[in-house]
């Protein structure tokens, strides 16, 4: 082959569009559409007594106001429980519009449709909802106390209780020479993508089709739900994901109420209807994550080897459980990290609260699990007076121990078995990158200047590329263009680039000739979605498999045309030729013409495929029995189980003991996601992940008051860090292939965020000399911890 695209840091093909303002986002569609505003609950928990819209009738341009009473058929049922689980004994999902009761501030009560969004907002302001407030359950403590219930028919506010165990942890801990027991907690945050959610729908009365554009991470998921709820044939519902300005997990929820309400309104009114989420709505109606409290018991020997680990934790699931118990399952199963565990027991309780529902946000339960495991490692090192990296090294799974079976069930319902990795090599590399071994001197030098420096590290293993499957369609057109479609969606990750790189290699064509479409059910109707760091693994392998089929077919057809043996043919720069003889070749475009026997030529080139163009074999039909017309193929990749990427972060911080301010001086990342399709894109993912990790450790949190009001629901009050607060990480890569998929790749999307809180907590603890057992931490909180230490 002339060029190998796989592994090249080629520029992102979508950036020309996205960086010049030429992207087509949800709000770029439907300029003439009716606008929608929602009347949302101002109460965390209340009964709805009545809805009075009389004053809204005076607003010129009002089209309709809908409440639950208007919703027909299945639209009046609770929204789907997306991921049921046997242990989820009390699942609850919301109604598209509240039915008699609201369970969090922001829950939609009425939908106002008007000539445009401005008018809809004006009318929504005049809708008077009569509420009877009920006691609100806010926070894990309040949920566990269960003095009040979120759902009257859910005792103790408990949605689910699950236990998984490897070996016999309690016996192992009882027999361990040393035991530590402590609590660790992490607070709530949210995805806050640059672009919020949004839905645009159009009912085409001529085609009898519902066309939906939605800023989602799963267009096929939305389509299935809408078709089912509306009782429409699947083919009558088209879901298109336009350019999406970030998702980070929250947009995988489907259907959000708005995703069924807007299409329903469009069909009911016979008009285009559009709703675009504003920032306040994102804070109070797009899903949250991360709130968990953990109790840890760990038994270990005098060398720091873990003998038994028992963790019980409480997960705040918010008002509803549409996403089941996936988040706490991920915490439970990813908590063990890269360490050799013989005895591990984990129990979690998923609790309802009168706050926004929780579903995965980049990292998805792993930041909490990593925080627990890594803080535990630091406690063991402290207890034994050992180097923190050394304690970790003693517990790492060795490179010769794969596949490593934890005898547990992962979030995809399949065995938790690590497929490959080289954790000691990652740790060695990280120590080098951050300067771990020489840090003592650095700390002393700073101390001499009155500065307080600290270092910390954190390790993780991330299950990526979860099934069940993804598919792809690769089509070489008669003009030579290679059209690729895969069903999962893009939120800016660079899928158009990396999938094109894979196809260009597999087919032997120029990258510029490959055009990738994602997230359009018209182009590829079977898909799952973009989440769990799965797109490259799942669709990457699917496009490779489909391209391989196209390649084989091209060679079959060309062999006949060239009167050569298929084994002697190769494809380079879009030309199928006899190996070693470029002149004896035929362009793929012409192969595409020949692949489709014609009655009618549509161009000069196409004449070659017509019935009198060449003498036919009289005994073979124009399309042989085992062939299909067209140079195209469809294929699917379905993994037996997830593939596990890994990495380790280290940070050097300076703590201002007068103010509690934390400055991240250095941040190093070593990352192993197998072979890199595009190193630049992987580094971009790591940079972005680190930014969100630092944000989650030092800045971002959701501040609910006791009544369930979100008191910082705006970018004025929610501290998203500026670029100036985010360190540029030093990044190193290892490339341990996965044995599970044809390309040997692993996911990279979420990794950067996972160890942020664990790593920075360790570094701050090291610098400030105070125990950090909950994150995030603000300067006032650190300052008061420093004060407590001074007082004792």
């Amino acid at each position: 082959m002339t060029t190998q695209w796989f592994g090249e840091a080629v520029e992102r093909r979508e950036d020309q569009r996205l960086l010049t303002g030429a992207g087509r986002f949800l709000d770029d569609a439907g300029h003439d559409a009716l606008g929608v505003a929602f009347v949302r609950s101002p109460h965390a928990h209340a009964r709805i007594i009545g809805v009075d819209v009389v004053d809204a009738l005076d607003v010129d341009g009002l089209v309709a106001i809908y409440t639950w009473d208007d919703l027909p058929g299945r639209l009046a049922d609770p929204l789907p429980l997306l991921i049921p689980h046997p242990d989820l004994t009390h699942p609850r999902t919301q109604y598209a519009l509240a039915r008699g009761e609201v369970n969090h501030v922001g829950e939609p009560v009425a939908m106002v449709v008007a000539a445009d969004r401005y008018i809809a907002e004006d009318a929504a302001e005049r809708v008077v909802v009569d509420y009877e407030p009920l006691p609100a359950v806010v926070g894990i403590g309040s949920a566990r106390a269960a003095e009040h219930l979120v759902h009257a028919d859910v005792p103790g506010n408990v949605a689910a209780v699950t236990t998984q165990e490897l070996g016999d942890a309690r016996t192992a801990i009882a027999a361990a020479p040393r035991v530590l027991e402590f609590d660790l907690a992490m607070e709530r945050s949210l995805s806050s993508p640059l672009e919020g959610r949004g839905v645009h729908a159009h009912w085409d009365p001529d085609d009898q089709r519902l066309r939906i554009r939605t800023s989602t991470q799963t267009s096929t998921g939305v389509r299935a739900a809408v078709a089912n709820i509306f009782g429409l044939p699947d083919v009558a519902v088209e879901v298109i994901t336009p350019d999406v300005g970030g998702g980070f997990g929250t947009k995988v929820v489907h259907p959000y109420p708005e995703e069924v309400l807007v299409p329903w309104a469009a069909r009911t009114l016979g008009r285009e209807v559009k709703w675009v989420e504003d920032r306040y709505e994102h804070f109070v109606s797009a899903t949250h994550e991360r709130g968990q409290e953990h109790h840890v018991r760990v038994g270990f020997d005098d060398d720091g080897t873990i003998l038994g680990l028992e963790v019980e934790f409480w997960h705040d699931t918010g008002a509803y459980t549409p996403y089941g118990i996936v988040l706490p399952i991920i915490t439970a199963t990813q908590l063990p990290g890269p360490y050799r565990h013989r005895h591990y027991r984990v129990t979690f309780t998923s609790l309802y609260t009168n706050t926004v529902t929780c579903t995965p946000y980049r990292g998805a339960g792993r930041p909490q699990g990593c925080f627990v495991m890594e803080r535990t490692m630091d406690r063991i090192a402290e207890e034994l007076g050992l180097d923190r990296a050394e304690v970790r090294a003693r517990n790492l799974i060795g490179p010769d121990e794969f596949p490593y079976d934890f005898d547990m069930i992962f979030q995809d319902g399949r065995p938790l078995i690590y497929d490959s990795g080289d954790y000691p090599a990652v740790l060695e590399r990280l120590r080098d990158l951050v300067g771990w071994d020489g840090f003592g001197a650095e700390r002393e030098a700073a101390a001499a200047e009155g500065r307080h420096l600290g270092i910390g590290l954190a390790c993780y293993v991330e299950g990526t590329g979860v099934g069940p499957y993804e598919g792809a369609h690769v089509h070489v057109e008669t003009n030579g263009r290679v059209m690729v479609a895969t069903g999962l969606t893009s939120q800016g990750q660079g899928h158009e680039t990396v999938f094109a790189q894979i196809v260009a290699d597999e087919l032997g064509v120029d990258l510029g000739n490959v055009f990738v479409t994602t997230g359009d059910t018209r182009r590829f109707p079977y898909a799952v979605g973009t989440y769990a760091s799965r797109a490259a693994v799942m669709s990457g392998n699917a496009v490779a498999l489909a391209a391989r089929q196209v390649r084989a077919k091209a060679i079959r057809i060309a062999a006949e045309a060239l009167e050569a043996a298929p084994d002697d043919l190769d494809i380079e720069s879009g030309v199928v030729h006899v190996r070693g003889a470029l002149s004896r070749g035929i362009p793929l475009a012409q192969v595409a013409v020949l692949s489709n026997p014609l009655r009618y030529a549509f161009s000069k080139e196409a004449q070659a495929a017509t019935q009198f163009a060449s003498p036919p074999d009289p005994d073979v039909p124009p399309v042989p029995d085992d062939e299909e017309p067209g140079l195209e193929a469809r294929d699917y990749y379905s993994p037996v189980r997830s593939t596990f990427a890994s990495g380790m972060h280290a940070a050097v911080v300076e703590v201002d003991t007068d103010t509690g301010d934390v400055d991240v001086l250095r941040y190093a990342v070593v990352h192993d996601c197998g072979p890199l399709i595009n190193p630049m894109i992987v580094e971009g993912q790591i940079h972005g992940g680190v930014a969100q990790g630092v944000a989650g450790a030092l800045y971002e949190r959701l501040a609910y008051d006791g009544a369930g009001n979100l008191t910082n629901a705006s970018f004025m009050d929610f501290l998203m860090p500026y670029l100036s607060e985010v360190p540029t990480p030093i990044v190193g890569h290892l490339e341990t292939p996965s044995p599970l998929n044809p390309l040997g790749i692993k996911g990279a999307g979420e990794a950067g965020v996972i160890p942020g809180s664990a790593c920075l907590a360790a570094a701050i603890e090291d610098a400030a000399g105070v125990r950090i057992d909950r994150m995030p931490i603000s300067p006032p909180e650190l300052w008061s911890l420093l004060g407590e230490r001074a007082a004792t």
């Binding site: 009075d52 819209v53 009389v54 341009g61 409440t67 009473d69 000539a115």
Partner: protein, 201 residues
């Protein structure tokens, strides 16, 4: 749809609305209100309607059901309406129940209910004289429901009553109630005209 709401009518309002001419005058953008010549008390109403963004010409009939209720049916560009409007015996509340199809059926039940309630209030209020100075005689007329009940408005309802109207106090009372029921027609129709009237006002 079904909605119930309290009403409070000024003195004589129910009777005033029983008069097709006065009803037509009280309905903004009303084209006509006529009574069947041979009729069963049915009124034929043609009017422009507007609820939220739904607007257009609507034609329908209003037929007494019994002393407390009328049946309203009709259609037009805004949609088809098939509603029973029933007053409680004390005339302190109205219940409107039935189906609304077409464009009017898409505005949402809360909008329909709100519009009907607002219309009822406005229409009943509209029977009050605009100023004391120019409507003294009118007002005194309205204060005598019996007189109105025996006038043209009531006669049509008498003709259309399911059973012969008895003479005497009992019969008069029934007629008066019937007239009140007929007036509710206007309430329903007014649902759709309120916006236009507001604009005109």
């Amino acid at each position: 749809m079904k909605t119930t709401f309290p009403v409070s009518a000024p003195p004589g309002a129910w009777a005033a609305l029983a008069d097709p001419q006065r009803l037509a005058a009280a309905l903004p953008n009303c084209r006509s209100v006529t009574r069947d010549a041979d009729g069963d008390g049915t009124l034929h109403v043609v009017t422009e309607v507007a609820v939220a963004s739904v607007r257009g010409l609507w034609a329908g009939t209003v037929t007494p059901v019994d002393a407390d209720a009328v049946h309203v049916r009709g259609s037009g560009a805004p949609g088809a309406v098939d509603l029973v409007v029933r007053a409680d015996p004390e005339r302190t509340s109205l219940t409107v129940e039935g189906t609304v199809d077409g464009a009017l059926g898409t505005v949402g039940a809360a909008v329909l209910a709100g519009a009907i309630r607002r219309m009822a209030e406005d229409l009943l209020a509209a029977t009050e004289p605009p100023t004391p100075a120019d409507s003294r005689g009118h007002e005194s007329h309205s204060d005598q429901p019996e007189a109105t009940g025996s006038g043209p408005g009531a006669r049509g309802l008498e003709l259309g009553a399911a059973e012969p109207v008895a003479s005497g106090t009992k019969g008069r009372r029934r007629v008066a109630r019937g007239a009140g029921g007929a007036a509710l027609v206007g309430v329903v129709i007014a649902v759709v005209v309120r916006r236009a009237r507001r604009r005109a006002g």
